[in-house]
Symmetry: none
Subunit: 239 residues, 4 copies
């Protein structure tokens, strides 16, 4: 709700699909008093969050290549050494960035799609929600973009998350008979084709100057919907 990541990190912790997330706190947790978190734990969590948040901002602004530990810790307001109390390495944090924000994105999109029955309309909502999320979290665009190269482990985790979610959605649609012409082994390719549309066009249309993020033009959404509804024929007969 407020600073980036408050929600995102909580989301990750909740669903916890990231074996790589591990902080010093983890050990101490075992000895924790049953009655709620201690002050120390709270403070530690704050620092962790501050580092996470700082990393997201720094990557958003300078890219992964420019995300030095020095920059991140300075922005977070802690000493460089402190970083290594929370993350095993620079790469460790970098690899957690995308999956964490990805969870948040998924939640954001899911909320927008709820209620719509028609599959193309659902996809249109997802598409719009994706772009909406980019505006809510401008850093995400760059993080998403560069992660494949700079944080491949994190990228793969995120990719698997998103693809699994998408696949579930398309498989349900398939069962409902909403994708009549497609065979079972064509669902996965379809997943990637839809992810491609979203991801690739965001690079062209959302990326503004100086890290700014723009809303996508309606013509893009119209073209996408037509393609999904009728293919390249685009709906000859008109709506």
């Amino acid at each position: 709700m407020r600073a980036p990541f408050d929600g995102a990190v909580a989301g990750v912790t909740a669903s916890a699909p990231h074996a790589m997330i591990r902080t010093p706190r983890a050990n101490a947790a075992a000895k924790a008093k049953p009655a709620g978190r201690t002050r120390r734990q709270e403070k530690a969590e704050q620092v962790r969050l501050a580092l996470f948040d700082a990393a997201a901002r720094v990557v958003g602004k300078h890219g992964y290549a420019g995300a030095s530990v020095a920059r991140i810790t300075t922005l977070a307001g802690v000493a460089q050494g402190t970083f290594y109390n929370y993350f095993a390495s620079r790469q460790d944090l970098l690899d957690q960035l995308l999956p964490a924000m990805g969870e948040e994105m998924l939640a954001h999109i899911a909320a927008e799609v709820r209620g719509e029955r028609d599959e193309v309309a659902r996809e249109e909502r997802r598409f719009r929600a994706f772009f909406g999320f980019l505006q809510k979290r401008p850093a995400f665009l760059r993080i998403l973009n560069e992660a494949e190269v700079y944080a491949p482990r994190g990228f793969r985790a995120h990719f698997a998350n998103i693809a699994a979610e998408y696949r579930r959605a398309l498989e349900r649609a398939h069962e409902r008979g909403a994708l009549p012409g497609f065979a079972d082994d064509e669902i996965e390719p379809l997943v990637f084709l839809l992810m491609a549309a979203r991801s690739y066009t965001s690079l062209r249309y959302a990326q503004g100057p100086a890290g700014r993020v723009k809303a996508p033009p309606e013509s893009l959404i119209r073209a996408y919907v037509k393609l999904l509804r009728h293919g390249l024929a685009g709906g000859t007969a008109g709506p």
Copy 2:
């Protein structure tokens, strides 16, 4: 046929759509004796080519991040300092890599599409030809992938090249009435959606272990063609 890039580089030099490509050679060319190239010029061109070729191989194998000037010059068999007689900076060469290979790719695809009239069938041919090219030039997949992050200028130049070519094709199709449902301002989005499909799926399907490049599965191509032909409905009525 033989070493990568002999053709590619020639192609670039020929069509020269890259404002950023400018080397010390350019100056020398101005002074060239009218009667053909001197020995010196030929030798220089050879060195330039060797550096280019070495860079492509190195990036293909080690990625842009691992493409140090030392590695490139060692592979090319020249001293490190020599590099800067031909390229303004490491980045300069890196930015020329993708546009050069992109020209070659364009030529390869154009040759495969020739003769086909149906627009969906043409796109299928392009799609197949793209994957075919990846197998011919395995290094291209990695270069294409990483360029956006490591050689953004080069990536943009390449992207503009490809998009322009695509746009021309789709606009001709549009004029022929092959994209009946689409408005003028939806052609460009369509271009990006088709590029997205090609580019994004290549990452998922073509990337084999250890830099190997695989052929795409037929299910992917079937799904793509169905999507183009009928949208998500996928051709309920059958072909």
Copy 3:
């Protein structure tokens, strides 16, 4: 018999020849109630012992260089900060390690020598007992080895201990007329020459792979005894 050092440390405390050994406990000891140790004191002594024992194990396995406070406290099962309640610094503990084990070694050797009257035979027993001790306490070999460089104060203390003991033995032998050719001022050099033999050959012959400790070959002991009995002539006339 059980955890290393129970005895060793007790020994140190008993004979206390180490001016440098002084821990927070020492203060507490002053305030001790006359009637035996309190629970608190016992607990504290346990922690001290645990740290000591952990340090010996860590140095035995990872060497002094790898004996970080973090590793030692983790193995001892206490927090890092606790360390500084018992030792003034990392170096302080490290410097106590060798003298403590050295006392144990001395006791071990003394027990083996008892009863033998011939001086060369006594030295042979010491020599064998030294190697025997190494096998009983494998960590000692590494500690002894590295202490000179990493814990020079501790090394000097240990060295002085051993040399003093040795000197006492040789002086008694001298008085008995067992070292007929040597002048008074040659006793000390002799001490160092005997210590040299023991210490140096242990590095060559006892050190096995992966911290394992081997028994010395009999040929070494034969050569040593011959040297002591007859010099380089080695006993031409037979024994």
Copy 4:
């Protein structure tokens, strides 16, 4: 002859038992003009020597642990990066230090021993020459001492060198009948016992304050000679 290492390094290069010695120059050497060294090569050799010399001084003064690349390069008057043009790593240089000086030591000792026939007298000369060398190269004492722990590869190389040399000498003596009481398999132990005497006593007697090196007392040498000549009996009958 002048600055430390001029000779030492040459010595190493000559007998070259150190597979680990490798500098960038090695490549270039292949292309070298036949007619003598170029200026560049000479300069490079100078820098290499300067680094070597600086390293020896630094280790002599601050120990291996204090021999940071920064200190070494500062003393040598070159930039830190330059270091890595000559040595693969800090450890690489550190491992070369002892073998290089060891060769010089060997030469020094050999020169002193020449001419003497009696084996004990030869060993006395070696012993004296060893201490003499320590005074000529004060840094050597510390380097020798710490190498086992900080530069184990270098130490092993040096140790093997010295032991081989010694062994050759003792085997020749053995063949001459100079070590009448010793069996073949006792020669090696003898080698180590003599090396022990030299090495260990140097720590006790040569080490002065502040890296100063003292001459050994005559009593040490007398004791040593007596031990070698008659064993612990020390020559009852007198000379």
